[in-house]
């Protein structure tokens, strides 16, 4: 059991390290773009709302593999010089995950009584101020649990990059099978690896929930 892991340690280490990087970079970018898209969807400008709605409806109903395929092969077809596979994978994961974060933000905003935003507008705050000072801080509490589900899904979704020559953890089984190692044990260790990565997310969620507990 252990020898499967220890004998191939560099393979596991490098694979998971790339997974972590994919996850962190795509996670941060998705939070930024997803929140902006969420703001679009609740904005007073119809064109922005329309864009947000269209984006979400298309991306949520497209298989992630297809988004990857579009970026990797579509771009190649169109002779677009894309950066290396890592950044292309980050792009695909971000484009896809932003749609889900957008929805989490939007439904979180909808949990806040309309009178809160109205009072903020009546005081003279701009749309962005209303959102960032009054609405989002209150919505945050409702946002955390579904946001964590989206982030955990993102972590698992990083394994799709393996199919596009990104050597993250999802590519370990293929490499191990070439080396003639036991597939079942390999998968066991990969599962353990992902569980270990999820633990900090759970603690992050606990911490955030405690911090936003209402007075």
């Amino acid at each position: 059991m252990f020898s499967v892991l220890t004998d191939n340690w560099p393979l596991f280490r490098d694979g998971f390290w790339l997974t972590i990087r994919l996850f962190l970079v795509s996670g941060v970018l998705s939070l930024v773009f997803g929140t902006a898209l969420g703001a679009f969807r609740v904005s007073p400008v119809p064109a922005l709302r329309g864009f947000g709605t269209g984006y979400v409806n298309i991306l949520r109903n497209t298989p992630l593999t297809l988004v990857f395929a579009f970026l990797f092969f579509g771009a190649a077809k169109m002779d677009l010089a894309l950066p290396n596979p890592f950044w292309t994978a980050v792009g695909a994961l971000t484009i896809y995950t932003s749609a889900f974060i957008c929805e989490v933000v939007r439904s979180g905003v909808n949990t806040i009584a309309p009178g809160q935003a109205e009072a903020a507008r009546a005081v003279g705050m701009s749309f962005v101020q209303v959102l960032t000072i009054v609405v989002l801080p209150q919505a945050f509490r409702a946002i955390i649990p579904p946001l964590m589900s989206v982030l955990i899904a993102l972590l698992k979704n990083t394994t799709i990059a393996a199919g596009f020559s990104v050597v993250e953890a999802g590519s370990i089984p293929a490499a191990m099978s070439e080396r003639g190692e036991n597939q079942l044990v390999t998968l066991f260790w990969i599962t353990i690896g992902f569980l270990i990565l999820i633990v900090p997310l759970i603690f992050l969620q606990r911490w955030a929930e405690r911090r936003t507990a209402v007075a």
Binding site: G115, A119, R121, A122, V123, G124, S126, Q129
Partner: protein, 253 residues
Amino acid sequence: MSDSDTLTKTGLVALTGVNKHFGELHVLKDINLSIDQGEVVVVIGPSGSGKSTLCRAINRLETIDSGNILLDGQPLPSEGKALAKLRADVGMVFQSFNLFAHKTILQNVTLGPLKVRKTDPKQAEQRAMELLERVGVANQASKYPAQLSGGQQQRVAIARALAMDPKVILFDEPTSALDPEMIQEVLEVMIDLAKQGMTMVVVTHEMGFARTAANRVVFMADGEIVEEATPETFFTNPTSRRAQDFLGKILKH
């Protein structure tokens, strides 16, 4: 009545020919209303007659379909920074208080000055404490809205509006959501404001307030201004049939 005719030209807030629809529903029908500097106007009328919509149109929380609304001689800006500036100059007090739930009482009052007026934090806080003192809730400054009674929350909401140094304050049924024993404490604060010369538009059915503090009562029904008179005249001698019916109903309670 002839008084209000001369006000039409000079009013701090002036509505002329204002119309507003919600879909098929004609909620404001050719509204003409002028409110002078320092004047207190009580708007009264059955539920659904358009009183809230009228208030919300004055600080452009609702858009209008036609007509003009002037504040201090200037037309209401339609968007952006100018609109935010207008809203900062027009205070609003809501039926359901709408204090910022995640901010302390003090922060509720300082937030507008800090974020919109960019007031110096020390100054904003000092002024906020003065205002909280004035409405009688200074000792609650570090609490959160949910920890206060309805009457206290509404007084904080008035302090929040005052903190912006508004030209006019709109009150939309400020005591309708309050338990009876708390109504008076809020009305007293409002009567005080009126005495100090604040320009106020107050949607309320509190006749006591209207008689004590209002210069004029405007009676609305079905989106129209049906009658305008001094409180005394309106309550003792309403001329329109609809006002007579309405007063008959509320007086029975």
